[in-house]
């Protein structure tokens, strides 16, 4: 049922009266909450909170600015490093096109994430106490939605600034500011489109497609920094879209308001505690399982022994829970696009993109391991050693990563970046990356009671960083021999042995060590 049709609001005076009543209810709740909170918060607490937030924000800005300036200073020498050697007969992508594609990918990501988290939502108690009231829901959801849009616009503009400085070093400061402001405005357009999708004017799939198409011109606007027209167009588009969505926010289905609020709340707390596994669970948890019967025939076939039963259960769970192939293919596409760009990136930057793509794809294969990590008792049901359980959990991530790395290295070989032996190296690396996926999925929650360790560079939260990097360490280690060979443009026989040892070592550690 479509939201617009599903909601039947009273008309005329009754609508106005229920809207006023709804605004009263919202104001009453907020007033009561404020009174309660004020009674329990001292000025000292308030000052401490503000001071901590201000200090943390200042540190983050200083760190980001310092990193950007360091990288910017290092970039002029990139010509000396050269890029990966791609055969000349392949066509190239102009650098501005890659820049626009990157901006487009960022905007699409904002739109998809915003839709997954609402963006028009209510929190748990609001869903329970506000939504059943026979009043217009617009005053209950609109202020929070608009606040979210403004904050996201500001955050996006701030995040765009370092990207602009690093990729368009020739621009002046006002041009960077103009580009960042334009990006902030088109990010608001992305959230507005997500809000429009929530109103379900058309079915979800065509809705997403229409949103993605609408973002294409938006991706071009931040590059037009020579006149303020781009910012004007972006700001007007954002304002018009928000007005159109805002007038109908009361028509979003209650179930979707509650769902979005639950996902956003879960994601926010995971982000706050820097728990990436929980964040992935939050962002994927509400999606319906569209393949609950996949591989049912394979699963019901008789097996011999509990180990075989466990292996089969893990394979079937992977086939049913794993998301679509879109993400691995997207990362493959990004790597290829980076290789084809004409004003080539330095080889180290290209290899960095390959490493990021490898880590992201590896992490996406850990869905089953992440879910089973929540219920450790599940693994104790069958009379098999925990060693076999961990081995079983690593099978499918390793197989997928072998396939993905074979495709990636195959493309690189086809482009002439390395000899065919790189494919063997890539396939071997896939085994270690699969182990990295399981290690990352069973990452323990950060212990925030452990104090930071003093170092010559200042205090470092070693325990928390250690927990955060768990899994990524093995993935990068397993990728290293393949990436070094790619950088050298040659595959030394010793590299194959080292690669095999690294991957076998990663798998061995993951299987032998309990999380």
């Amino acid at each position: 049922m479509q939201g617009a049709e599903a909601t039947t609001l009273p008309s005329g005076d009754e609508t106005r009266s229920t809207r006023d009543l709804s605004a009263d209810i919202t104001a009453f709740t907020q007033r009561s909450s404020r009174r309660y909170n004020r009674a329990r918060t001292s000025l000292k607490d308030l000052f401490t909170d503000l001071y901590s937030y201000g200090l943390a924000l200042g540190c983050a800005i200083a760190l980001a600015a310092s990193m950007v300036m360091t990288v910017k200073d290092a970039l002029p020498g990139r010509g000396e490093a050269g890029s990966l050697r791609i055969s000349d007969h392949w066509p190239t992508i102009p650098a501005p096109a890659l820049w626009t594609l990157t901006v487009y990918a960022a905007l699409t990501t904002v739109m998809i994430l915003a839709r997954r988290m609402g963006p028009i939502t209510v929190q748990g108690a609001e869903g329970q106490w506000w939504l059943p009231l026979p009043v217009d829901r617009r005053p209950m959801v609109l202020p929070a939605f608009l606040r979210r849009c403004i904050l996201l616009g500001l955050a996006s503009a701030a995040a765009f600034m370092p990207f602009s400085v690093l990729t368009s070093a020739e621009l002046t400061l006002p041009a960077h500011l103009l580009g960042s402001a334009t990006f902030g405005a088109v990010a608001v357009v992305s959230v507005g489109l997500a809000g429009w999708m929530q109103l379900e004017p058309i079915n979800p799939r065509p809705g997403r497609l229409a949103g993605a198409v609408a973002l294409i011109p938006c991706a071009v606007l931040p590059s037009l920094t020579n006149s303020p027209w781009a910012l004007t167009v972006a700001a007007v588009s954002a304002a018009v879209l928000l007005c159109a969505v805002a007038s109908r926010t009361g028509q979003v289905r209650g179930a979707d308001l509650i769902r979005g609020g639950a996902v956003a709340g879960h994601a926010r707390s995971s982000f706050f505690f820097m728990d990436t596994n929980e964040l992935l669970r939050a962002l994927h948890g509400d999606r319906p399982i569209g393949s609950a019967h996949r591989a049912a025939g394979f699963y019901t076939r008789p097996v011999q022994g509990p180990v075989a039963a466990l292996f089969r259960a893990d394979i079937v769970a992977f086939l049913r829970l794993q998301g679509s192939l879109a993400l691995p293919l997207l990362w493959l596409g990004i790597v290829v696009a980076v290789l084809f760009v004409d004003k080539s990136l330095p080889a180290l930057a290209q290899i960095g993109v390959i490493a990021i793509a490898g880590c992201a794809t590896t992490s996406s294969t850990g869905t089953v391991a992440r879910r089973t990590a929540l219920v450790p008792g599940l693994d104790a049901i069958l009379p098999v050693s925990p060693l076999w359980v961990r081995c079983s959990r690593a099978i499918m991530p390793a197989l997928v990563m072998i396939l993905w790395m074979t495709c990636l290295t195959g493309i690189l070989v086809l482009l002439g970046a390395a000899p065919p032996a790189l494919i063997l190296l890539g396939a071997l690396a896939g085994i270690g990356m699969g182990a990295g996926a399981v290690r990352g999925a069973t990452r323990p929650v950060s212990d925030w009671s452990v104090p930071p360790v003093e170092t010559p560079f200042g205090p470092i939260p070693q325990a928390q960083i250690g927990s955060l990097l768990r899994g990524l360490d093995f993935t990068v280690l397993a990728l290293a021999p393949a990436l070094v060979s790619l950088y050298a443009g040659d595959v030394h026989p010793a590299a194959i042995i080292i690669q095999a040892l690294f991957s076998a070592g990663a798998l061995g550690v993951v299987i032998r060590r309990s999380p």
Partner: protein, 228 residues
């Protein structure tokens, strides 16, 4: 075709998850002043039926209508007519018990919200806890608060999912009288319960939820509960 005068009309309703039904088809009609008991074993699908009737879950097939309109909690008219109390233990952390009830009373445009809230607080024995936040309540008191919110507001159909949970025997008796009074005043009630005494003292008819759903007398329903 909806039966004349029926508050709730359920026709060939099939409920379940991911396309798989959890129980047999439900067809029932409820008039003003009637109380429909819903009983069955654990996992039989009682709450799923109640949630679907309340519009909180999409049916696999069939239809539910309340006073001739499809069950849809996004419709203001439906929300005005249907009160539902499930086991959703969610509260505003910084609103007191009284403020939660005031919110409901004002949201339903009740004439004397303060007086109505005082009456509910007294009925549910929450006067002494009126000015504390829900976090400071026991689980039974939180249940009373949820019931107070559901019972104080005007409604033509009330859907209660195991309201006896976490209530002491005295409160269960009071609740039974309250529901019987609500029915006498012309309200219709769907009551999912595991309590035979509550069922027999309140219900006018009863559904046994199983692979095949059957309509029985409340006494037969109570014996079904006793056997389970």
């Amino acid at each position: 075709m909806a039966e004349l005068g029926a508050v709730l009309e359920v026709e060939q309703l099939l409920v379940g998850y991911t396309g798989a039904p959890v129980c047999g088809e439900v067809s029932v009609s409820l008039r003003a002043g009637e109380v429909l008991g819903v009983v069955g074993l654990n996992g039989a699908g009682k709450s799923t039926v109640a949630r679907t009737i309340a519009g909180r879950q999409m049916p696999l097939s069939g239809s539910v209508s309340v006073q001739g309109f499809a069950a849809d909690p996004d419709n203001v008219r439906f929300r005005r007519n249907v009160a539902a109390v499930f086991d959703d233990d969610l509260f505003f952390p910084s609103l007191t018990v009284r403020e939660h009830l005031l919110l409901v009373a004002r949201g339903h445009s009740m004439k004397s919200p303060d007086r109505a809230v005082d009456a509910e607080l007294e009925f549910f024995g929450l006067e002494g806890r009126a000015d504390v936040v829900p976090e400071a309540l026991s689980s039974g008191q939180r249940r009373r608060l949820l019931l107070a919110a559901g019972l104080m507001r005007p409604s033509t159909l009330m859907i209660l999912d195991e309201p006896e949970q976490r209530l002491d025997p005295l409160m269960r008796d009071s609740l039974a009288h309250r529901l019987a009074g609500h029915a006498q005043d012309g309200g219709a009630v769907v009551l999912v319960t595991h309590d035979p005494a509550l069922l027999t003292s309140v219900a006018s008819t009863c559904l046994v939820i199983d692979d095949v759903v059957t309509e029985v007398t409340p006494e037969q329903g109570a014996s079904t509960i006793a056997r389970s």
